[in-house]
């Protein structure tokens, strides 16, 4: 299994966790792939040694209703406890009665002093930066909407003129205007979609940065493409 497929399946299997928890886990696995690649291992071999994405994901659940799809696996594991089978290590595993039962296992990202520092930093730098970004966001958004409306208007004018005036020269001019309007329309739509993608990436990266010290890769780790965001 290739790295990207592995990451996608891991993300899907961890979908019951919130974004930051999921991202931390996925980042660990991405780092693992990268280290293995530098050691000369190919992605297929690394995937094999890691175990299936579903089995890795299952080890993070605490046996509660967070992972209903693994309930049957838990029953299977209980049977395995009495009659373990070779190769079972790669099967989904649920530590309902084992050491992974603490529901707070994901709830200690930092100490209290960390939060105080984060809070002060946010007040001093975060709010002004956030306001600037918000203004930029609103400006770009308005620009995009404006371009769409202008595009529709110019397109409409072009079509109206083309259908109203049957003179050849005017038709050509009107069609040109229509093409220009269509271009503006597509430009506006593209602008807005990319703004949405950029903003989602920024928010996720900022959150991940606070939590793990790493930003989110642009095109992996569950960050939706604009098709997914739309």
């Amino acid at each position: 299994m290739k790295r990207q497929e592995y990451i996608n399946r891991l993300n899907a299997a961890l979908s019951n966790l919130n974004y930051l928890e999921r991202q931390e886990i996925v980042n660990d696995i991405i780092d693992h792939f990268e280290e293995a690649r530098q050691a000369g291992l190919d992605e297929e071999a690394v995937s094999e040694k890691l175990g299936t994405p579903e089995s890795v994901a299952a080890t993070y659940f605490d046996g509660s209703d967070q992972a209903p799809e693994t309930a049957s696996a838990a029953e299977k594991d209980n049977q395995q406890d009495t009659a373990p089978e070779p190769g079972a290590a790669t099967e989904p595993h649920n530590y309902q009665n084992g050491p992974y039962t603490d529901p707070n296992m994901f709830k200690k990202p930092g100490t209290d002093s960390d939060y105080i520092v984060y809070g002060v930093l946010f007040l001093v730098f975060g709010i002004p930066i956030l306001m600037t970004i918000l203004s930029l966001y609103i400006g770009l958004w308005s620009g995009g909407i404006g371009m769409i409306i202008s595009g529709i208007a110019v397109l409409a004018v072009g079509i109206t003129v083309a259908t109203g005036m049957m003179l050849t020269g005017i038709i050509i001019a009107a069609l040109s205007i229509s093409v220009f309007g269509l271009g503006m329309l597509l430009l506006g739509i593209g602008l807005i979609k990319n703004i949405v993608k950029l903003c989602r990436w920024y928010v996720n990266s900022a959150a991940s940065l606070f939590k793990t010290g790493k930003t989110v890769p642009w095109n992996e780790s569950g960050i939706p493409t604009w098709k997914g965001a739309a």
């Binding site: 931390e24 693992h32 040694k49 175990g51 089995s55 080890t59 373990p84 050491p99 790493k214």
Partner: protein, 115 residues
């Protein structure tokens, strides 16, 4: 082959023991495991995460030469205490099991000794 659940519990002690000898990053821990214990590499990360959430292990990011920044794990004083406790329990447990095996699984001897 050891019961999987049992083995996972013991792996926690193994991770703590590895970290007692020095800070390590996830892949490094996984490799140290795969050299000696038959387990998939993916089992290491939940253990590290749990130990971290319990305060037995701290993590920090460190640049590596020619590669991506690495997330290193470091044993805390609480982790060292916990590791010593686990190790003591493990030693006691294996001692009892060895004793049982050496007695040819004669349970009557064990029951008399612990009566």
């Amino acid at each position: 082959m050891l019961n999987i659940q049992f083995k996972k519990g013991v792996l926690e002690l193994c991770v703590l023991s590895l970290l007692e000898r020095g800070d390590r990053y996830g892949y490094d821990v996984a490799q140290a495991f795969s050299e000696r214990i038959h387990t998939s590499d993916g089992t290491v990360y939940p253990i590290l995460r749990r130990l971290s959430s319990e305060g037995y292990v701290d993590s920090y990011i460190s640049e590596s030469s020619g590669g991506p920044a690495r997330k290193y794990y470091k044993l805390t004083p609480e982790g060292l205490t916990f590791k010593n406790l686990l190790q003591s329990e493990w030693m006691d447990f294996t001692k009892q099991v060895n004793s049982l095996l050496n007695d040819g699984l004669d349970l009557s001897n064990y029951e008399e000794a612990h009566a």
